[in-house]
Amino acid sequence: MTPAQPAEPHPGRPPGAVIELSGVDVELGGTPVLSGVDARLDQRRVAVIGANGSGKSTFTRLLGGLVPPTRGTVRVHGIDVERGRKALRAAVGVVFTNPDAQILMPTVADDVAFSLRGSGLDRAAVVERVAGTLARFGMSELADAPAHQLSGGQKQLLALAAVLIREPALVIADEPTTLLDLGNARRIGGILIDDLDAQLVVVTHDLELAARCDVALRFAEGRLVDAGEPAALIADYRALHA
């Protein structure tokens, strides 16, 4: 395994915007799902690829604090994922594959506003932030629409809007385009790669999306087996399945 190293420091990145994993194992119900993961990631866009069941999703859940490491340490932007859960929640936004499971409130505006719960903003400020975010995602017209009646693409846009309104320093996206058609997949991919003012870790089977990242990681059988420049790594991955 080669730990991912930055080619050069990224301008505009705040100091400490680094993900560090050291000797990380994860076992779920006694079964090892990740073993011996070491990495240092300070690139702006990180793609994670690999076969189904290779440990990619567990890797992202680990970074999001949704599963604890069984052994080793994980630090996300200086926060220990086990000790700093509250700080981690504030710093990290997670987008899941299935937007249906992320929609927690009945209408679009309510769901986006829900992300600001506990932020200390007053009602007028919340309404303003929600309106601004929905406008940015082209969803102003849908503000009062029942969230679960949206199309798949609109639901994933809503899920992304609900994450980005909190302005997280790290966005983790677990196969965010898997359930979308080509147009919507490109739109979501474009927002993640081009517009996001945060570090991104995206798990994807969409190699076109992975190729647009700064670095790619490949997992196989619970191990981080390759890390480096996306084009070369994707070419190797394609060759493996040729």
Partner: protein, 202 residues
């Protein structure tokens, strides 16, 4: 019945959620406690209650389809109440009680049709705040309620998926269809728990 907010600019829409909740409580209590004897007076009072609710829908600009939809959604309550009360009580009391219950249920529907969930949650949390002293977490209560409202269409969609899966395979599971539905619902609950956790709620 539980309904999704329909945007509008009427007096009912603009009224604070707390006022609407109070009105629902007062009218609900009044409809329950107003005299039922003699039967004619009881029926007149119940009918007047229902007319008042319809007028409130008109004031909200929702007297056409939304009102009819709300009334239609009470059909099973009506059937259940009328049948059981006709057996045990009699026609006058069956009509009296059923009209009152329908009026209250449809009035509750007007609350959710004209109030954003976020506003309702904030108001509920404020109203429940004194209960924090006896160990009730108002935020948790209001979140549970709103999640329940949100999940109704999701569970309906899962039920549709199970039904279609049966049709695709040419089988009919009947009552046993509840097992795959339960599995899907539990899996969905796991995903929602992750989403809640990711949004900072443990």
């Amino acid at each position: 019945m539980i309904a999704v907010y329909l945007p509008g600019d009427s007096l009912v829409h603009r009224a604070p959620a707390g006022v609407k909740l109070l009105l629902l409580a007062v009218l609900g209590l009044a409809l329950s406690l107003l005299p039922r004897e003699p039967a004619l007076l009881g029926l007149v009072l119940a009918g007047a209650g229902l007319v008042l609710v319809v007028l409130l829908y008109a004031l909200a600009g929702l007297a056409a389809r939304p009102l009819l939809r709300q009334l239609w959604s009470t059909r099973w309550i009506v059937v259940l109440m009328v049948v059981t009360q006709l057996i045990f009580l009699g026609p006058a009391e069956a009509a009296n009680n059923t009209v009152r219950v329908v009026a209250i249920v449809v009035l509750a529907g007007l609350l959710s049709l004209t109030t954003r969930t976020a506003e309702l949650l904030t108001t509920l949390e404020r109203l429940l705040a004194p209960l924090a002293r006896v160990g009730v977490d108002p935020r948790r209560v209001s979140l549970t309620l709103s999640l329940a409202i949100t999940m109704i269409p999701v569970i309906a969609e899962l039920a549709r998926q199970v039904r279609e899966a049966q049709q695709a395979r040419g089988v009919r599971l009947g009552v046993r269809a509840v097992v795959p539905l339960l599995v899907l619902a539990l899996r969905h609950a796991d995903d929602v728990a992750d989403a809640l956790s990711a949004r900072g709620i443990d």
